[in-house]
Amino acid sequence: MPAVPLYAQLINLLAAVLLLLAFAMLSQRRVLSLIDLFAAQGAALALSTAIVAWATGQRHLYWSAGLTLGLKVLVLPWILRRLIHRLDIEWEFERLINIPTTMLIGIVLVVFAFNLAVPIAELANTVTRSTLGIALACVMLSFLMMITRRKAISQVLGFLAMENGLFFAATSATYGMPMVVELGIALDVLVGVLILGVFFFQIRDRLDSLGFANLERSRDDD
């Protein structure tokens, strides 16, 4: 078996860290800790992007690593923490989730994601192709998190984590998307989070807590 180069080992390590963090988010009930985990995921993502940039000489990936660092490690967590502080929900946590069951479903999803990624990974000629399965698994775990959570803010963090997974898929399979697209995606994410900020205040003004459990109206059709 040929020796695996150091950078590939590092990327595989960071991929494993990402997956671990995705599981940690799945099992975390406290909102503030969720934000810390999200920031950590962003840091791992930025580091892995920078390593891919260094290993392959793709200049534009340095920019995208910087963008990730700025947006996902600094700006977004800052906005979210401020929001939580102003809404005075620092000590909110999710009561109604069954963590062991969610974790088991999560494991099944990871196996499924790895199987789905096998045919694509065989075609990839990038140094990081083995990580595509992990990226897909991160996306699915975040999806699961969004489904199981009741609080609006945890759903948002699930959504942002899903975006992290997609971004990791883009770097691991293809050396990143063209810069103009990455900038557009970053803009969408930022605007999305700002709109959410507005939303939280609307929800708070109208409803008692930032969850929709008390809002289930009887609908005729869904």
């Binding site: 694509i120 990839a124 996306v139 969004m146 997609l166 998307m177 697209v181 995606i185 969408d188 409803l207």
Partner: protein, 483 residues
């Protein structure tokens, strides 16, 4: 090139201007004027493309061909007529204290930005920008859905935001896979996300990857089209927002999302030997038609009724694109046009009708024709048109789709006919007492907008009787492109 830029820049300038003007008296006039200027620019652009062939401008960033140019013109046109309608409508809403001044500023600015995102999605040549623009279209409308700040509208907006966000995230994964497959052929610098380049090399793209990519793309963009089972945001978002927004969501956004699906389908059809993409689209389309038509029977809220009808019609169009071939594609393009015109006309009439009655519940709206013959007839004619009664245009397109289905896919015909029949019974039985019968509705403080409704219905009637040669030519060319 100047025309393409004009179509995109005018709405952005208009949005900035409207943000500055705020809620002053002439804000709705500026909104209408900007939408009109966009429409003129779009008309000039389509003239250019009709005479000079496809355009590829600004370092291959924008691409205009027969397929997207007619959607650009349609989007700009309905954007303009909806702005006309929104003027009296929002004035009445303000008069009744449903919206405050700062919210009107938000409403007007976001309306123009929404038009911009849709036009960008249509004109861009880059599959990544297409994704960005469609996500931005959600973001610009999400605060408009919650404009009234009622608990129900906030819940609807939240659902819209989260479901479309998750959906569109799947589409991003699909786009990444598409890029991954294309980069092998075109290289990193070869513009591997440009549709024109992808179209050129589609035969040599890796079929397994493209099949997988299409599943993600269809699920992602299909969420925005409102295909069953990804539709659950759509009735809420249409029912709770202001009616002009329901009109543009139903008449325009669904079309643009479907446009994205069809662009992807062209690539996948070229790469994969089996009719994989077609079967998927036919399946999703047929499921939407059948499910939506049965759920029409259970609606009590008039805006929800027509929102479900949009799901049904988008299902018909998706099914027709799935069948493929010259006739089905022609019919699908025609159906996109007439559905968009008819549905926005219906929402214009419904908007004023609900203002008169003070409720969206159909039981509370009675005898429109007694108090306001204009609104009553507009609703009655709109309903007949959307149900596919001859001589309206919807009849022509549905007839072509059903006959093509009979010839190529006979198994699907009973489902289609059953669904159309159920939808007919459901909508007609609801509309009849609302239009005729004892009246209970009040007068409005401002004159309702009559022109946009009847212009749209007249156009739909015309398309049923006679399709202008230049339009038929466009449809034929676009149908050939889609294959």
């Amino acid at each position: 090139m100047i025309e393409v830029l004009a179509v995109l820049v005018i709405p952005v300038v208009g949005a900035a201007l409207l943000a500055l003007v705020g809620d002053r008296e002439h804000a709705p006039a500026i909104n209408t004027a900007t939408a009109f200027a966009t429409f003129v620019a779009a008309a000039v652009l389509s003239l250019r493309v009709a005479t000079g062939g496809p355009l590829l401008v600004l370092d291959r960033l924008f691409f205009v061909d027969a397929f997207n140019v007619f959607l650009v013109t349609l989007t700009a046109f309905v954007g303009f007529t909806t702005a006309l309608f929104s003027r009296p409508y929002m004035r009445i809403e303000q008069h009744e204290g449903h919206v405050t001044a700062p919210r009107l500023r938000l409403y007007h600015g976001m309306y123009q930005l929404f038009l911009f995102t849709m036009l960008l999605a249509l004109l861009t040549n880059n599959m990544g920008i297409l994704w960005v623009a469609l996500e931005a279209a959600t973001l610009t409308t999400v605060l408009l859905v919650s404009l009234y700040r009622t608990p129900a509208s906030i819940e609807a907006a939240w659902k819209y935001f989260v479901l479309c966000g998750v959906g569109i995230a799947q589409a991003l994964f699909g786009t990444i896979l598409l890029y991954f497959a294309a980069e092998k052929v075109l290289g990193i610098a070869g513009g591997a996300l440009l549709w024109t380049e992808l179209d050129r090399v589609k035969g040599s793209l890796e079929p397994t990857v493209l099949s997988l990519a299409f599943v993600f793309l269809l699920v992602g963009y299909g969420t925005k089209v409102g295909l069953v089972p990804l539709h659950s945001w759509l009735p809420d978002a249409h029912a709770e927002g202001p009616t002009p927004i329901s009109a543009v969501l139903s008449g325009l956004l669904l079309n643009v999302a479907l446009y994205a699906v069809v662009r992807c389908k062209v690539l996948v059809d070229g790469a994969v030997a089996t009719p994989f993409a077609r079967v998927l689209m036919m399946g999703f389309g047929l499921a939407s038609v059948v499910v939506a038509s049965f759920l029409l029977l259970r609606q009590k809220d008039i805006k929800r009724l027509f929102a479900w009808s949009s799901i049904e019609h988008m299902g018909i169009v998706t099914f027709a694109f799935g069948m493929g071939g010259a006739v089905a594609n022609f019919a699908a393009l025609l159906h996109m046009t007439v559905h968009s015109l008819t549905k926005s006309a219906i929402f214009f009439a419904v908007g004023h009708a609900t203002q008169k009655a003070g409720t969206q519940m159909m039981d509370g709206i009675r005898g429109l024709v007694v108090v306001s013959p204009m609104l009553g007839w507009a609703l009655a004619l709109g309903a007949l048109a959307i149900l596919g009664m001859p001589p309206f245009g919807v009849f022509a397109s549905e007839f072509l789709i059903v006959t093509t289905a009979m010839r190529d896919h006979p198994w699907a015909t009973p489902f289609l006919l059953l669904a159309l029949g159920v939808a007919f019974a459901a909508i007609l039985s609801r509309i009849q007492p609302m239009v005729f019968g004892e009246s209970n509705v009040a007068r409005l403080p401002h004159r309702p907008a009559a022109i946009p409704v009847f212009v749209h219905l007249a156009l739909v009637l015309m398309l049923g009787l006679w399709i202008p040669p230049f339009l038929a030519e466009w449809y034929h060319r676009a149908a050939a492109l889609i294959g």
